[in-house]
Every structure is written in C-alpha cells, then in structure tokens.
Assembly symmetry: C2
Homo-oligomer: 339 residues x 2
C-alpha cells in the first residue's frame, strides 16, 4: 500500500513525523511518501537505517502553520505539504494520507480538492475513545463547528457504518452527546437531532451526557465539532492535571516515593490506556479519499499508529461502504432521502 504523510504537519514536525513514518514503513511494509521541505526531511532521514523499507520524499515548498485559516491556506499555500499530499491522493499515486497538521485546513483542502462523497453534506472526524470495556467512536471531533440536525444524522449513519463494517461491532449502539439523559433535554440543535435520530434505521440509544462519555453506553457518539473538540481536549486536560498533581505529591516524601516504585507498572498501564497515541489518528469520514487526522501534538508512535489506521481505512474500503449505504441503496439511503 502507498501512503502519503504530511511531513510538515503537527507541533513536532518534521522530526517526530519522519521518525513515525520510518517506523510505520518498517512495521507495516507500506510505501511511504514523505511530503514537505526536501532538505529538512533529508536531514531527518539521515538519522535512520533505511534499508529494506520503502520511503520517498515528495518535495513541497510551503508549510501550513497551525493557526492559519483554511481560506488563507486554500488561496496562498498551493505548494504546501498538505495540498501536495492531497494531490497525490487525487492523482492515485497514494491511497491514503496522514496529517497531524492544521485540522481545519486539512478538512477544507480535502473537501475542495477531493470533494465529499456524493450525498454526504459534511465530512466528520471520527475519534476513538477508550472506555472501561473497549472503545467508542466520537464524531465529529472538530471538523464542523456549526452543524444542523441533519448533519448529526449523517454523522450517526457514517459512525454506524464504520463501527459495523470496519470495527466489526454488530448492531452498534448510537448515542447523541447531550446535557442530560432524558428525551427533551438539550439545546435547539440536539433536541431537533434527537427527533431525527430516533426514527433512524439504526440502534439509537438516546442521549449520552458527559458523565457517560467513557462508559461504553454507546458505540457511536455524535455531536457537533465544537462540542466534540471541547470534550476531547477537556478530557486530555483532566488526565494531565491528575497526573501532574499526583507526580508532585509523589515527590513530596519518601513514603510516596516508595509507593510509587511499587505502583509504577500500574501507572504506566493507566497512562497507556489514556494515551491518544495508542489509538492512532482519526479518519475523516465522508470525503472521497482515505485521510487520517493525527493529533497536533503527535509523537513518532502516534504517527506510526495513524499510518496503521490509514492502511485499515483503505483495506476495508470505508468509503465504498459509506457511499453504498448512504447513496446507492438500502434502508439508510432511503431514510436519508426522506429527511
């Protein structure tokens, strides 16, 4: 498989991205196109033994910064690593793309250059959340900051298809992120979305409030991208604050230090469990092309895992499943057409 990696995207680019790409090329055997500033990528590559792996630099002269507006990127960054990587996808040289860069820009460039799958109004970022017993899929995690109820319905259907056909969950439970559990709770968006979702041809289990986000109550949780982004970043912030506070306490006396020595393996396991890097990137569902968005703070491991996820998106032909179900045939398509 051939996968393009935006070597300039993310807080730790190009170092961590190149390192992760090298690891992925070794571990999964994919051919990786590293797209970006040729000189910078070459310097990073010089650190590794590249025998027996397939890596190619695709030069791009511009870099998209994290704070740039999507509109500015579309207009002024036509030779950026992001846009260049997307064109590799478009011309068929690569089958998937991984980027840890500016999410808004990635979403905008992908939608303009590759277009959304016919029938999909808004592509969405689908992020995996760890729960006590497994995983849930949250979408949208930040691609669409202002949504209409119909968009949440489409997210639900794309999430349903992804968890059923790719993650292999039979009859996935679909929930709506809301501020209470009972029907009738919420803002205008979620109240109207509830009405649409409850008639949907999938297993709608109702509202999921923040308290149940990590409970595994639903396999798919839909929300607008603003709320999804706040929920995810807040989660990270709490986990980090707890770890920081705990670390300070541990350093405060010998008794705590001793306890820490015993508990270190358990704490490592906890950290691993909460660590987004383990889950790799989040697929951008609904766009014509396999694009995986990695966390902006991705280290090498996160990039490597995002390449793995990109490979799975291609292997299981996620887009064909979405297109078939949303547009061409079946009860999901019929239901969407009625709404």
């Amino acid at each position: 498989m051939k996968i393009a990696v935006d070597a300039m995207g993310g807080d730790n680019a190009p170092q961590a991205v190149v390192e992760g790409a090298v690891q992925a090329a070794k571990e999964y055997g994919h051919k990786i196109f590293l797209v970006g500033l040729e000189q910078a990528i070459s310097e990073e590559l010089a650190k590794y033994n590249l025998s027996d792996i397939r890596l190619e630099i695709v030069p791009a002269s511009q870099v998209v910064e994290m704070h740039e507006s999507p509109v500015a990127v579309l207009r002024q960054k036509k030779d950026s690593s992001l846009v260049k990587a997307i064109s590799l996808l478009k011309e068929g040289s690569a089958q998937a793309l991984v980027t840890a860069g500016n999410t808004g820009a990635a979403m905008a460039c992908a939608t303009i250059h590759l277009r959304a799958i016919q029938g999909v109004e808004r592509p969405a970022i689908a992020t995996v959340l760890p729960t006590l017993h497994g995983y849930s899929l949250l979408l949208d995690a930040g691609a669409n900051v202002d949504c209409k109820p119909f968009h949440l319905l489409q997210f639900a259907i794309m999430g349903h298809i992804y968890t059923r056909d790719i993650l292999g969950i039979e009859d996935p439970k679909v929930g709506l992120l809301n501020i209470g559990e009972e029907e009738g709770k919420g803002n205008e968006l979620t109240k109207q979305a509830f009405e649409l979702l409850k008639g949907g041809p999938f297993n709608f289990v109702g509202n999921v409030d923040g308290k149940r986000l990590y409970s595994g109550f639903a396999d798919v949780i839909v929300c607008d991208g603003f709320v999804g982004n706040v929920a995810l970043k807040t989660s990270e912030a709490v986990a980090e604050a707890m770890v920081d506070f705990f670390r300070r306490e541990v350093e405060s006396n010998w008794r705590n230090k001793l306890g820490f020595l015993f508990l270190r393996p358990a704490l490592r396991k906890l950290k691993r469990r909460m660590d987004y890097a383990e889950y790799g990137g989040a697929p951008l569902l609904g766009v014509n092309g396999a694009i995986v968005i990695a966390h902006g703070a991705s280290g090498a491991k996160a990039i490597k895992n995002a390449v793995r996820v990109a490979g799975e998106v291609v292997k299981y032909d996620v887009n064909r499943h979405i297109e078939d179900n949303i547009v061409r045939r079946g009860k999901l398509a019929r239901f969407l057409n009625r709404n």
Copy 2:
C-alpha cells in the same frame, strides 16, 4: 443568616440534603429552613441531635423530579419544595436558597418568580474549577443552552465582578472557552463573542481551549451553558474513569496493593482536589436573590459547603455589586449600553 434548603432536590434527597443541612447549621450557625415533604424530612431529622442548632421544616407537598421540563414545573408544581423555597426568598423569610435539584427548573422558577437583575438578560451558573495553583470560575455551567454573543459578554462581566469583589482577585483574567487559542478560531457564537469581549473594559486574555481549562490561564472562563455542562461532566467522567481503572489495577496483584498502601494519603488528597463536593455549590449569578445550585449527586458534604457558599453570596452582597456595575454606573455599564 437564614438559608432555605430544598430538601427534596438531588439524587440523594432527602437523606444527604438533611444531613448536610444539619452539619451546616452546626458549623456556620445559620438558621436553615428545610423545605419539602414534612414526614420524610422529620424522619431524617430524627437521626440527629438538634440541640443548639436552628432548623425549621417548611412543608411543601410536591417534589420536582430531575427529568421534568421547566415549563411543566412552572405550571404543575406550584407547591413543590423548589417553588416554596423560592417564595421564602421572595417574601424575605430567607436570604438565600440552596438546591441540588433540577437545574433547568431552578433557573426557570427563579427567573419567573424573582426576576433577573435589571439589565441582565440571562442569569448564569458560575462553577469553581480547581487548577494546579488555585481556582478558575466557569460560567455558564448549564443554565442557558442556547446563547447569543451578548450573553457571553454579560457572563464575562458578571464573572469579572464576582471574582474581583467576592473572591478578591485583582484585575481578573477573563477568557473565552473555544476550540483553539488564536483569534478567528471557533464557531459563529464564539467568533462574534470574541469581537465583543476584546473591546470590554476588563482584562480579556483571549481564547482558552479545552487543553487549558485547568491550567489557571484565566480566572474567569465564559461559554454557553451547553458547552459548559459537557466540559464539566466530561471532566468528572475522566477523573472517575481514571480512578476506576487504577483501582482495578491495584486489586490485580500484591505488588500493586502494597504500593497503594503507601500512596493512599496522596491518592486521598488527589481525590479531594478533584472533588466538586469540596467547593460547594455554584451561585446562579444575575437573578434577584441568592441562589446556589449544588451538584445533582451531592452528598452531605457538598450540601454543607453549598450552604457556606450561599452565606458568602449574601454576606458580600454579590447582587448589589452586579447591579451597581451592570446597570447603574461605571465603565462596565457604559460598555454594555453601547453593545
């Protein structure tokens, strides 16, 4: 001071509420009106030694359930503990009210029966968040699920006044909860609110994304009530999930159990730090009357602390400060009139 407590409100009512009220009466010396089903409250009170404390039952025949819509409560629950407690405030028999019950109903009944402070369009729930070095105030925590930019501006001003005049923070830093740190990020609401806030006569420090929610970067963080509620409940969920996971690990072998014995005091301190019960309730700012909203899952300690907060709201005359600054005089009032 005389404080009314909605004895029937919350998941653990009336047991935990009565217990907390008894503790508060003892510790703070306030007179407490316990409002609700007479028989049920009497049975709970029989468990305690009530000498030297001032407690009085105020009978109310109805109970507001957690899932009831505010409109239904206003129409059908006129003799509920909530409405009865609010009327004690209105007639001046009590100076403050604490409820752990249905937040939407509390907000609606308070606004209808007591009215908002003149000039305040939307009262807001102001919740204290622990940070590494102190506390931040988040509002709105759930009273207003659909907001206009001007409402966020008023929340900012009420938060500014509360933290400055009551919490004693000089020139408090005011931030906007958003999905990125740079100006220009966000949905329609936050983009427009940013424009209003940056011209405000207070120390606006810009966007606060979820990652910085617990960083202490801002003393006051404003958002609409939907987003605030999701952020708070998600935070609780993450903290609980981490503790659950850790507990399981600890029980899995002797090495972890031993480490846990040493670390128990540190873990208790962490739990205390993350525990909303320590901070008491959240004042409903902007309504004519001192109302403190306690967490729906409040135990006795949370209720006791909510009564303490209610006492402070009265003692520092929060409402006069808001009214003076928003309506009567000064640069905040002039600024609001221009917008």
